[in-house]
Amino acid sequence: MIYFDNSATTAPDDSVLTSFIEVNKRFYANPASIHLAGKQAETLLEKSRAQILSILSAPDGNIIFTSGGTEANNLAVIGFARAFRSRGNHIITTEIEHPSVLFAMEYLETQGFDVDYLAVDEQGMISTEELKSKLRAETIVVSIMHVNNEIGTVQPLAECARLIKQYSRALFHSDTVQSFGKLPISLTGDGPDAITISAHKINGLKGSGLLAFRKGIPPQALNFGGGQEHGLRSGTVAVADAVALAKAMRISLLDEERQEFRQWRNRLVNFIKNYDDVVVLAPDKAAPHIVSIAFYKVKGEVAVNFFQEKGITVSTSSACSSKSGAAGHVIEAIRLAEKYKNGVIRISFGKNNSEQHVVEFEQVFAQFMELLGRGNG
């Protein structure tokens, strides 16, 4: 079985699982307790935090451990908007964000915030000109994802950060769930002020993630209780989750340095471009691990089933929206021609893949096109 749906989730790394189990066995004490066992758990928790901050090149930054990317995105969007409300009520985001950002934005609109949604071009790129024109004194939060989960477009975060700093006082958040471990990310210099990371996208465990942000700019808390995580996320901190996440992040940096994903992507894109009735979504400079394509008048689901039958797992555009049937908001936003809209599939690489998998995919792909009566044009 070839698993090509790593943007939906990845297989947990063995060493991450080992850490998770070991921590639960040996350091299960509540890190808030003052006895020795509690102190040990706390030390371990803080070491994980320090390791993560060092990976993000922001040793004096802050981290809130969350239940995953969705919670971190919710906390960022709603928490920062509330924290900076005294400065204004204008927020900017894009049309192609993950639902955990988009629905949080919709909620904020009901609370009297004014949200602008940046449009994207046919390749899913925002326009920094448009961003610049929308920024104003009352802009308090800008949230722009780094890599789009459905088509892999990479947004120019450094340039966005520069514009945001220059033309507003807004906090810049980026959903980096799909890019961490694939592209360099840091919280210093020309990076965003806050980022979201999800463990299970980088061979960690489902149910954990984090929001990291620069020193001194906490969001307002969304849940209340014992005051853990400096009162920003109450609830006993899941030490083993934090350790496993820190480990997954450390290991994933090795992926960032691997060039294979990029090579496979180039190979696959060149291969697919030989076929007339298939389009590749996103520009050549898209994220190295995602290839989204659309078939002419063939349902994505049909292709998924065919590949499944041949031992290859690919997905329709995103796992979150794949069951709803209708074309997703990203596909709408890039104004994909009607005849391609329902034919999107996504191939996403992970560390368990090899070049041989790409070769096999190409063979199956050729069979599929043959079957459709659309030979190599």
Partner: protein
């Protein structure tokens, strides 16, 4: 932004006369020590400045984070190196400027042309580069006098060197250039700050701590070790002496009246500290005492406590307000450690109404019923020493 080297400027020490070399050497050694775990870092010290190189990008980033804590550095600037061609300089200038804040800042280009063979003269070069930068960062405002962003370009035969950002250093004197003292480190907020201020004046320190197990916990000890470790991050290792104090403390509780027991406790601590000081060859004792904070910190009380020794007792915080002390503690990162809730030996037996004006003759009279001298000897002899920072052998490493 990737930096090729760091230019380090000396502070006060560049004012020194013929002793300057000694100070520079000390500073170099302290920087080396503070960065000893970064394998690719190399240092080159010159008369007025020092250069730091690192082959690994992460080592360089880490050095930029640690340097601001090392005393004796006035400021430092990350330097980008490029080919000495106009095109390369222009391109690098944009990257260097882009790495910092630009919105609404005043700006100037400064050229130093060590290599006179470079085709453009200084004036032309300045205009070319300034025009290029302003085109790309139109929000900068040109200003010749005291600009906020000063792009400095130095053209040497081997390449061009560009800097724009000046990071503030910790200033002060290189630790160790001004002698050695023993710091009485309690675990509270004040004493680490006192140690920090003395280190800033170039004094290297050992620290002494009194532990009363089982009344005080391992965690209290760990907390003091963390504090000493924090202090060691300012450019010099710190040796911590942990004194077993339980027996003496119990004797005091049993023998000396409640309202002067605290004065006696302090006097014995100071005696022990003084013996340790003599053994390690330190010249003074440093305390975190601040006038009027607690009963032991009245002038009368200090007089009674101080009567046990003629060694100089340095009290850098004596006239500081609590809030000012807290501010420094927060700045240097000891505050969060100090406020951890573990009992220390000063609080476990503290009397309910200690005398704020103890009379020395009375105190000496009460102490005369017990023979503390052998206990003091014993405590000094049985001390445990820990060298900080600890060589990390971490049980957690395999988990992370």
């Amino acid at each position: 932004m990737e930096w090729n080297e760091l230019l380090i400027r000396y502070g006060e020490i560049s004012l020194k006369g013929r002793n300057r070399n000694v100070f520079v050497k000390k500073l170099r050694k302290n920087i080396k020590e503070a960065l000893s775990d970064l394998p690719t870092v190399a240092l080159q010290a010159e008369r007025d400045r020092m250069f730091l190189f690192a082959d690994d990008k992460r080592d360089m980033e880490e050095a930029i984070i640690r340097l601001p804590h090392i005393f004796g550095i006035q400021s430092f600037s990350p330097v980008a190196k490029c080919e000495a061609t106009l095109e390369a300089i222009k391109e690098t200038a944009l990257r260097v400027i882009g790495a910092g804040e630009t919105a609404g800042k005043t700006f100037k280009v400064e050229i130093r042309r060590t290599d006179k063979s470079f085709p453009l003269v200084t004036g032309e070069l300045q205009q070319e580069i300034a025009a290029h930068v302003l085109q790309n960062f139109p929000e900068l405002i040109v200003q010749m006098k005291k600009p906020e962003v000063l792009l400095h370009v130095e053209i040497r035969s081997e390449g061009a060197y560009l800097t724009a950002k000046v990071h503030k250093g910790a200033a002060g004197m290189p630790v160790g250039s001004n002698g050695h003292s023993l710091l009485m480190l309690s675990g509270g907020i004040d004493s680490p700050v006192a140690g920090y201020l003395m280190m800033k004046r170039g004094v290297s320190i050992d620290a002494i701590h009194f532990a009363s197990p089982p009344f005080t916990s391992e965690l209290a000890k760990k907390k003091v070790m963390d504090l000493a470790e924090k202090l060691s991050s300012f450019g010099a290792a710190v040796r911590l002496h942990i004194i077993p104090f339980t027996e003496i403390q119990q004797t005091i509780v049993n023998q000396v009246p409640d309202n002067v027991s605290m004065t006696t406790t302090r006097r014995l601590m100071l005696q022990i500290a003084d013996q340790v000081r003599a053994e390690i060859g330190a010249l003074a004792i440093v305390t975190g005492e601040s006038l009027g904070q607690v009963a032991s910190q009245t002038l009368e009380s200090l007089t009674a406590i101080n009567a046990v020794t003629t060694t100089p007792i340095l009290r850098p915080l004596i006239a500081s307000d609590k809030l000012d002390i807290i501010e420094i503690a927060q700045k240097i990162g000891t505050y969060d450690i100090s406020i951890q809730p573990y009992e220390d030996c000063c609080t476990i037996f503290s009397p309910s109404n200690p005398k704020t004006k103890p009379r020395l003759e009375k105190v000496i009279y009460y102490e005369s019923f017990s023979d503390f001298a052998p206990m003091v000897e014993e405590a000094v002899k049985n001390r445990i020493t820990v060298d900080l920072p600890l060589q990390k052998q971490d049980e957690f490493d395999d988990l992370l």
